[in-house]
């Protein structure tokens, strides 16, 4: 018979509070999440229209995961699963060096790391198309086992591989199987998972017609859902809003942040 690990809440509390979360470099954004950043062990879904900053936030988090332990960071690696070819390495390099530079200024001494070393801490996968994506998801448990220092998995975007060539029922089945596996990895190895998702239109819905894609059952699956949007009236075109749609720790509130050349920062 299989042995089940039944832990009491005190043990879990110690586990949950022993490691820091992945910060976004925007304090107001970290604060509304209630966990001072993107919690390890849970799946966060980023929703938003094109241009609302989903990919930028993913890139920033991939850089933030490298913050040295001295500054309360994780000093870890990131895995970026790119399904819609939105990733650009030059932009990531920009954000990464800005983030590391900031750490240097706070520390007051140069980091013991070259840019090449820092860049090598990003594992990039181009999983374009449903077959490639599923094949990689199948290999993921082994990959994480072989790279225990990965503390962040970003999938940009989760909806893209499922756009065509699969029936709705099969899609839900497959997605829930993959998410169960992903969540198991997240909890077991204490990894933060960030997914980006697109918006879709459902005509006639009482709560507003524009909702996240993949349906109501999917909305139930992620632990945290964050809706990003561009404010309509604003002086600053780089400013963005984040609304916490769903969370198991924090009430629903709004944060302001902006996307600068250096990455995600607080809006003044």
């Amino acid at each position: 018979m299989k042995a089940f690990k039944i832990s009491n809440t005190t043990e879990l509390w110690q586990k949950e509070t022993s490691l820091p979360a992945v910060v976004s470099f925007s304090q107001s954004l970290d604060n509304i999440l209630g966990t001072n950043g993107f919690q390890l062990g849970s799946i966060t879904e980023l929703l938003g229209l094109p241009g609302s900053g989903k990919t930028q936030l993913c890139l920033q988090l991939c850089a933030s995961v490298q913050i040295p332990k001295l500054l309360g960071g994780l000093n870890a690696e990131a895995l970026y699963i790119d399904t819609n070819t939105n990733f650009t390495i030059t932009r990531f390099r920009e954000i990464l060096s800005a983030s590391l530079l900031r750490c240097q200024t706070i520390l007051g001494e140069p980091l013991q790391m070259t840019e090449d070393e820092a860049l090598s801490k990003l594992h990039y996968v181009n999983a374009f198309g449903l077959e490639k994506f599923c094949a990689f998801m199948y290999r993921l448990p082994k990959f994480i086992e072989a790279h225990p220092n990965i503390k962040l998995i970003a999938i940009d975007s989760i909806a893209y591989p499922f756009k065509d060539g699969i029936s709705t029922k099969q899609r839900t089945g497959l997605l829930f199987r993959q998410m169960a596996e992903l969540q198991r990895i997240a909890v077991q190895y204490q990894v933060a998972v960030v997914l980006s998702n697109e918006m879709s239109t459902r005509v006639g819905l009482s709560g507003g017609a524009v909702v996240g894609s993949l349906g109501d059952a999917w909305a139930h699956r992620c632990n945290v859902r964050l809706l990003l949007s561009t404010p309509q009236v604003t002086q600053d075109p780089t400013e963005r809003l984040a609304l916490l749609l769903k969370s198991n720790v924090a009430p629903s509130t709004v944060a302001r942040f902006k996307i600068t050349e250096e990455g995600i920062r607080d809006a003044e």
């Binding site: 009491n8 879990l12 089945g173 059952a217 009430p251």
Partner: protein
């Protein structure tokens, strides 16, 4: 079906059982179905003895007969409701969640189901000295949140620790594991002392993994799970709460299809009917004896910003007198009250 064993029947010796096994009579059922005269030949027992064994099997393994009085005393002697610790919720459910039965809490995503579960786990663990088993299928259990709820309610560190100690969490990722877990509890190979409440958050996360399969594996797992749940609920006097989700379906109102194409229909607001649908299908629909639906109400006034209102309504129930009773709950830092 169970195998024939020598120690259960004094007339059957090991050698006789071996002879029977050679003639493909292995289980109790094989024994009952075999011709009696053939059995006497094989076992070299008298006809009378074979008939005694048959009767013994019948009395021992058939469903037991209990009369009404005995049943009522049994129910009165053990508790039959677990208080949810929330007064308004207790009043619409006639005193809490039914022990020895399956309850369902359903709602749309972000309607407060998980928060409700945390609160129930805390309330049962603090009042009853009972242990709560929290089956987490989507990594949603947050010990930090539970600790914050207890802190906001003003518990001392010592109480907090003992309450948190009595909430046991197990992560389950597949339907196979879920069935295994319940089997373990049923067989008492997995012992949890003072078990009072089992919360499964949530079942669709496991069941949806089997969507799109042609082999109906999911349904057969669900059936086994329901049977184990009922057995566990009865045997250990616990209440079992399953979390189910709802999805929304939109029907286009087609009443004006018969109108002329050029008539006023072009100016009419299109009519859509939004339906909420409990997941998990027809079979599950009638399994829980009590179904509570949660809805999040939009908070209208600014002063309520720290607190969200939830509407809980009983939608089907075999155990309360009135259906469709509702109450309003508040969700805040302190939890659900």
């Amino acid at each position: 079906m169970q195998k024939l064993k020598a120690q259960n029947f004094h007339n059957l010796s090991e050698s006789v059982i071996r002879t029977l096994a050679q003639n493909r009579i292995v289980t109790l059922l094989d024994f009952l179905q075999e011709d009696v005269s053939k059995l006497t030949l094989l076992t070299k027992l008298s006809l009378q003895d074979v008939l005694t064994i048959r009767n013994e099997i019948f009395t021992r393994y058939s469903a037991p007969l209990i009369n009404g009085t005995a049943l009522l005393t049994k129910v009165y002697q053990s508790r039959y409701r677990i208080s949810s610790g929330i007064d308004s919720l207790d009043s619409i459910t006639n005193g809490g969640f039914p022990v020895r039965h399956i309850t369902e809490i359903c709602g749309l995503a972000d309607s407060g189901k998980t928060q409700m579960c945390f609160q129930l786990a805390v309330n049962v663990a603090k009042d009853d000295n009972g242990t709560v088993l929290y089956v987490d299928t989507k990594g949603d259990f947050s010990a930090v949140r539970v600790q914050k709820m207890l802190e906001a309610q003003g518990y001392s560190h010592k109480d907090m620790a003992s309450i948190m100690y009595r909430i046991r969490v197990v992560h389950i990722w597949t339907m196979e594991d879920m069935v295994e877990l319940f089997k373990g509890i049923k067989n008492k190979s997995l012992e949890i002392k003072n078990l009072a409440l089992v919360i499964v958050d949530s079942l669709p996360c496991l069941m949806f993994q089997h969507l799109g399969d042609d082999n109906k594996m999911g349904l057969s797992f669900l059936n086994i799970l329901v049977n184990y749940s009922r057995f566990i609920a009865n045997e250990f006097n616990v209440a079992i709460i399953y979390i189910n989700i709802q999805t929304r379906w939109i029907d286009n109102d087609i009443s004006d299809l018969e109108d002329d194409a050029e008539s006023t229909s072009a100016f009419k607001e299109p009519a859509y009917i939004e339906k909420k649908n409990r997941c998990l299908g027809k079979y599950w629909e009638s399994v829980p004896v009590l179904v509570i639906q949660l809805e999040k109400l939009d908070y209208s006034s600014k002063e309520n910003e720290t607190c969200t209102q939830l509407k809980a309504s009983v939608i089907t129930s075999n155990i309360t007198q009135s259906n469709n009773s509702q109450c309003i709950l508040n969700l805040s830092i302190m939890g659900v009250t």
